[in-house]
Symmetry: C2
Subunit: 379 residues, 2 copies
């Protein structure tokens, strides 16, 4: 194998594939990056137990200045190889594999010789031979991931809750995540009606890596599903994630249909108040803040209290308050995450009782995006 | 005590004083910030076992909008108090201390009540009643610190080497640091001839904190020395550092007066080569790179080698090479630190033998700045 390539393009592709490569894995070859040179393209592959990423650089890509002199394949230690490529002196680099997997990298006056591994020992990527392809708007899907992933569980005690649960009905794709203390649900419209064989659960961590790869240049991505893998395709890149096995809990019954107290406000206003109140709740032993709603005077007070350190109290700027008076306590970090997921928008918050979950929805789009938080009993 | 103040100005001063406050100290009151309100000014003080910082905000400072309603003093948990002040909603804030050291902080609709401590229990700052005041250009002194502190020892086995050694002769101030593997020495001209009672050793860590405080707005600082304290004064701020006790080794005899091989180059050129070579030396067991100088052909090769991983070799771009052929091995990290301290400038490197220290000086100012590195025996 022997090729020259523009370093800039190569580094960009290396960075993408490295998202799938862990330096901590117990399987040595998986700390490696597989490079294959075919007649008209270079294929880079990285893999761990959760995700695999394969990306292609074609000789027809003008920015890449890719010139393949001879084909072949090699596995190189990913982190180390990438450090070398990033520090090379010249705009282009030459990579050549000789006997015994020794690899020479030349750029300007600099010449590295490093030991590689036999690419035949690199695990093969899963096969996804689905007939159904779901087309997704990259921006919207990336937003959907970021909005729901906050509620994914980080505890391995119930592995199924570490994933986001996707279902399709007609042309509506729904994503739900819950760690059993809070829940986030988002529904988006698909460009076309598709039939998904069944619902799927994709690990939250995989989806976060995917979302980070979806930069502004990528407009659409496609999703195919096999028995235990999801395959996302975009921009000459294949992104595989394993699926979580098991039955996702029925979350639809958790969302209350009615409410007895409602308030409306701008998300950043309440977020700032909650951040101040949580300074004190974090200093204390139990991380709880209290919201006191007086419906008649339309006055809402948020307070945090820590016997050792002190307390804070402030009136929240609201746009409207309706219903019954209420005093409710909750973990401020859950509300912070939820409010951040909405960005700069007007929010409607609805309560039924001090011990029942409360919900937040954008005032302008109450059907498709909901955040739910379970309160804390303090008496 | 009761005062109102502009939050921006207050935050800037809090940040300065916090450099002296550690949250890890075993003396609880030292995790606190002391605030004193006098008739015409506010004094903030922070202290740890190495440094103390006291800064003043005057009622005459227009940006501060400081209005002192009643005088007094209090100690507040520094980190926590500063988090609160940073998150307050309004441009101004009111601070009021009531009975039992309870402190109320009000800003906009937000009201914090936090527990303070009796300021009488806060340790008193050292007294520095020196007759001699040394005036320093802030930029030049800050540069001097950053250039020499790289060679300060991080090991507590020889505490004296964790400091920078300052001496004055006439109007020349000299700073030296060495960890016994390398040495950095810088001499600067003082605006006027001063007599310093004796040489002093200031902890490197203290000086780094000081250098970070010297922003572009500060033009000159003054230094006073007492028996065991150095006091730097600038911009309404007093910065105290303890001095290290003991005899600093005689470093003048370490610097070779003659050389048998010299090379000249641009610092960034060699730095880039060394960074590449150190990728391999870091991967191997002994962190060493080799410089091979062929004087006749004026060719300089830098190489790094790690049997398990591979090797790298490249020709260094030099401006001139003179003297005898040489092969010398050293820790590339020492050379990286030294080259970075010079910035973008032309450097003269001088060698006597493969086992004797070599030196680097700026081509344009060979007298006042020298970096020395001890090589490693590899045979």
């Amino acid at each position: 194998m022997k090729f020259t390539i523009a370093r800039n393009t190569f580094i960009k592709k290396l960075n993408a594939v490295q998202r799938a490569i862990s330096s901590k894995t117990t399987i040595p070859i998986l700390t490696g990056l597989k490079i294959e040179a075919e007649n008209d393209r270079l294929i880079l592959t990285g893999s761990n137990t959760d995700i695999s990423i394969e990306t292609t650089i074609a000789t027809s890509d003008e920015d890449a200045h890719l010139d393949i002199e001879s084909t072949g394949s090699i596995v190189l230690m990913a982190r180390f190889f990438s450090d070398i490529v990033k520090k090379l002196p010249d705009n282009t680099m030459l990579l050549e594999v000789s006997d015994g997997f020794q690899t020479t990298i030349t750029s300007g006056a600099s010449e590295f010789k490093i030991n590689g591994l036999d690419a035949n020992n690199f695990p093969r990527l899963p096969e996804v031979d689905s007939q159904t392809t779901i087309t997704l708007n990259a921006d919207v899907f990336s937003e959907m991931i970021n909005e729901t992933v906050i509620a994914v569980s980080t505890q391995e005690s119930r592995p199924i809750l570490t994933g986001i649960h996707f279902t399709i009905e007609g042309n509506k794709l729904s994503a739900v995540a819950t760690d059993s203390h809070r829940l986030s649900q988002r529904v988006i419209n698909l460009p076309e009606t598709v039939k998904m064989p069944e619902d799927i659960i994709i690990p939250g961590k995989s989806l976060l890596e995917l979302a980070r790869m979806l930069d502004d240049e990528i407009e659409t991505i496609t999703l195919q599903i096999s028995e235990n893998q999801a395959l996302f395709t975009f921009d000459e890149t294949l992104f595989y994630s394993r699926l979580l096995e098991g039955l996702y809990p029925d979350t639809s019954r958790l969302i209350p249909k009615e409410s007895s107290t409602e308030m409306e406000f701008e998300a950043p206003e309440l977020l700032a108040s909650i951040e101040r109140a949580s300074l004190l709740s974090h200093a204390g032993r139990n991380n709880v803040v209290k919201l006191t709603i007086n419906a008649e005077s339309k006055k809402v007070i948020i307070s945090g209290d820590s016997p050792e350190v002190g307390n804070v109290e402030e009136e929240v700027v609201t746009k409207d308050v309706n219903g019954e008076d209420l005093e409710i306590s909750f973990n401020p970090d859950y509300l912070k995450d939820a409010l951040r997921s909405f960005g700069h928008t007007s929010i409607k918050m609805a309560f039924t009782s001090p011990l029942r979950p409360f919900t937040l929805v954008p005032t302008e789009d109450q059907e498709n995006f909901i955040q739910l938080i379970t309160p804390v009993r303090t008496f």
